[in-house]
């Protein structure tokens, strides 16, 4: 992807469309961060494409002064895959929601990740179906009372980070709508990753699911619960770093007082070839109600599907001339004359 900074500003990535989310929706913060970020990292409006599905979050592309495709529900990763294969020169972003990307679109997401297609996937997780006015979603905790679950939901929720890691994703991260600095940092890393980058963003739906992430976003709570993953640094957290993550004998991870941890504290290595440790970290918080890791869980270099496909085409080209006449005349031919 383009690296040189372009001298562009946030304005260059802001479309003239009126933004139509509810006042106070977490989507605004994400939008604004992405607009500034693209300018900072030197992206260009004309080589940037945002592909989305359907949902409040999926309105995102309309507000970017880039190319955009507001596709159909759940299919953005598929549309983006075709685009990425056809056009190595573009930065292709996918914007999806917890319903769009994990319910109807879960399979396309899984396959885009395992193929390692060169896409940046931002999943706006608000643990609700916003656009359809408030049904529970695959990330809603058990017992959620919403329009379609008056007696509480009974589906065990998905952990998007665990799922992505189980699907062989090469880049997996998590951030928070309103935490501009952290979100920028994570998205910058995602942008720099060649291949499929998956970023779960906790996004607050003020209307149908307000404060769903209070445990990691609240003024007091976040200091206590955010486990900020930084490559190469020991994983400690809490106001004074009083808690630490250590490996246990059974291959799982545990949170212990830093004092007791000693040298068992895990030093975060996002580049480990296998997703084992990243997965273990994702299980520290099956759902964001207590200590929850945010940041880049995993970031490894791996062959990129669309690059490999284009290589095969080039190899074939080098090997065989593209002679249409010869193709048509391949196999047994015979001549008829009068």
């Amino acid at each position: 992807m383009t690296e040189a900074t372009s001298g562009l500003t946030k304005k260059d990535f802001t479309s003239d469309r009126e933004v139509r989310w509810c006042p106070g929706c977490g989507d605004y913060a994400i939008l604004s961060t992405v607009q500034s970020l693209l300018a900072e990292v030197g992206a260009r409006p004309e080589t940037t494409v945002f592909v989305s599905g359907i949902g409040c979050s999926s309105r995102f592309p309309y507000y970017m002064d880039t190319y955009g495709f507001h596709s159909i529900h759940g299919r953005a990763p598929a549309v983006a895959t075709g685009l990425a294969i056809a056009r190595p020169d573009l930065d292709v972003w996918v914007i999806t929601g917890d319903g769009d990307g994990l319910s109807i679109g879960g399979n396309h997401l899984v396959h885009a990740l395992r193929r390692n297609v060169n896409l940046k996937v931002l999943l706006f997780n608000n643990e609700i179906y916003g656009l359809t006015k408030g049904q529970y979603s695959p990330t809603s905790p058990i017992g959620s009372v919403h329009k379609s679950t008056p007696m509480g939901s009974i589906d065990r929720p998905l952990n998007p980070v665990s799922l992505a890691l189980g699907a062989e994703a090469t880049f997996v991260a998590r951030s928070i709508d309103a935490d501009r600095a952290h979100l920028s940092e994570v998205l910058t890393a995602a942008y720099a990753h060649r291949g499929a980058a998956f970023v779960e963003i906790y996004q607050n739906c003020v209307v149908f699911n307000d404060d769903a992430f209070i445990a990691v976003t609240g003024k007091e709570e976040r200091v206590v619960n955010q486990i900020r993953l930084r490559h190469g640094e020991p994983i400690v957290f809490g106001p004074g770093g009083e808690r630490a993550v250590v490996a246990q004998g059974d291959g799982s991870l545990a949170i212990v007082p830093t004092g007791e941890a000693g040298d068992r504290v895990i030093v975060h290595d996002a580049h480990l070839p296998e997703p084992t440790t990243a997965f273990a970290l994702s299980r520290l918080a099956p759902s964001p109600t207590g200590p929850t890791p945010i940041g880049v869980f995993r970031s490894v270099a791996a062959p990129v599907y669309d690059d490999l496909l284009r290589e095969q085409v080039e190899t074939a080209r080098a090997r065989t001339p593209a002679d249409l006449g010869a193709l048509l005349a391949s196999g047994n031919v015979w001549d008829v004359t009068d």
């Binding site: 479309s15 409006p45 004309e46 080589t47 940037t48 494409v49 592909v51 592309p61 309309y62 970017m64 002064d65 880039t66 190319y67 955009g68 495709f69 507001h70 596709s71 159909i72 299919r75 990763p77 598929a78 549309v79 983006a80 895959t81 075709g82 685009l83 990425a84 294969i85 056809a86 056009r87 020169d89 573009l90 399979n107 396309h108 396959h111 496909l309 284009r310 095969q312 085409v313 190899t315 074939a316 080209r317 090997r319 065989t320 001339p321 593209a322 249409l324 006449g325 193709l327 048509l328 005349a329 391949s330 196999g331 047994n332 031919v333 015979w334 001549d335 008829v336 004359t337 009068d338």
Partner: protein, 628 residues
Amino acid sequence: MSGTTVERTRVTLHNAVVRFAGDSGDGMQLTGDRFTAESALAGNDLATLPDYPAEIRAPAGTLAGVSSFQLHFSDQDVHTPGDQPDVLVAMNPAALKKHLKDLKPGGTLIVNSDAFTDRNLQKAGYEGNPLEGDVLTDLQVHEVPLTSLTLRALEEPIASGGIGKKDAERSKNMFALGLVSWMFSRSIDATEAWLRAKFGARQALADANVAALKAGWYYGETTEAFVFTYEVPAARLAPGRYRNITGNQAIAYGLVAASVRAGLPLFYGSYPITPASDILHELAKLKHFGVATFQAEDEIAAIGSTIGAAFGGALAVTASSGPGIALKTEAMGLAMMTELPVVIIDVQRGGPSTGLPTKTEQSDLFQAVLGRNGEAPIPVIAASSPGDAFDAALEAARIALTYRTPVVLLSDGYLANSAEPWRLPDVDDLPDLADAFTFATEPNGPDGTFLPYLRDPETLARPWALPGTPGLQHRIGGLEKEPDTGSISYDGDNHHAMTVLRHERLARIGRALPPLEVDDPSGSADVLVVGWGSTEGPLRAACTELRERGRAVARVHLRHLAPLHPDLDDLVRRYRVVVCPENNMGQLSMLLRARTLVDVQPYNRVSGQPFSSAELVAAIESFAGSTA
């Protein structure tokens, strides 16, 4: 037995129909393919009909396991794979049981007598042994111990361990091919060369198969069982260079040709399904033409990726069969709303639901023309023969690129798998699709703005502006739009106007077509036969026969199903009787009746097989009544 050769009378025929039938494991498809190649090289016109079980491998020796291949070759134009075979080769009792009823009275039957064991007879559901009873009277029956003869021919290599007994036995199909080749005075040199190429390093196998092939040939020459040999002279085909081609091959080649002539890279996103998979297999081999093939996780992802590739500027194509197309319909609506050029190929098979996966049918016409939510007019065209599928693919690309619209191309299981001689087109004569479109490069609106839905006044096509083009950033999607800007609009009257406009865009595709060609040699016909798709061969044959019988019939075969050709309204009104035979329950008939209010007579059969011309002759006559 060798040594002496017997004198034979060589009978010259205009055409012959040969069917090879045996167990799925007997290699009948390959045998048929080779005999087809030999016939082609002999200059015959021909048509083939492969028929194999839906199971990968049904139990050996059972009826369900029978696989067959029929070839119709002639010194005249061939329009169908033939109704009743003149020669039936049955490799086992099940094959005999299944196919005997079709054999022409007095026809030639060659059976592998070695295979008529009690076990096999019982598996085939025979009480007694048909070779003994009088079941086969008034047929020319040749009981040939194909297996043992083959083994005998390969005694040496088997003894010397050069080849295993199993492999040796497997080459009995080549023995049969050799024998039939001899019967029809065919040279087996090409097949020998082909076998050597196929087995390459595996020398012993190559030798064994060639030996079996020759043994079969010599067997015919030397035994006295065969008193006649036959010859079908070369057909008077239009001069040119020919090859055999199946519909799936022709579609693959047609798409590559379209990409070359349009100067666009071909993107093919697909999910395997019978009988469409071979298009994917063909194109995957053609990467040197810049073809990108993507095996998606499902049909929805396949068309999704195709829409994305079209947005990126590729000639984007997806294909499936009925069940897979059903899954694509939502996305087809998106392609229609975003007005991107996408070709969607439906290789129809027996339906509904999973239906009859390996059988042919024309029953997806409604789905293609009307099967979407909302008012979603999309052009639909159909291929009418294996070779024609090449032109149909080019036409689908032309419409898609010219009008920026998804286009449905209908093929079917029969076209997909059957082969016919195809005259190679001159590459430079192919339509130049580069004129069909241009990529937008400049703003087209007031003060440097870009209007992604500002239309070409004639075609109503919107600009094709590729990501990467500075200054043309825009956003598209499936919500209703206002004109020019393409901005979302919830205005009711605008929605009505846009809906009307989308229908008008479809209509203009029809108005721009060349006049409809009607096949009416006498010019005096009062009966019109309307068809579409793979029924053209049988319909053409039927009409020819009717004319020979003195019944003047006119025939029109539709390439375009949506929009229907504007000439149709007047045309159908000009005839006393209009008959519309289809391999469905009357889908085109209904579209025609609604459009013209003419009492179009449907004739329908969905039996997994193409029509026989005999059946159509009878049907058309019954509708036409006594000769006027």
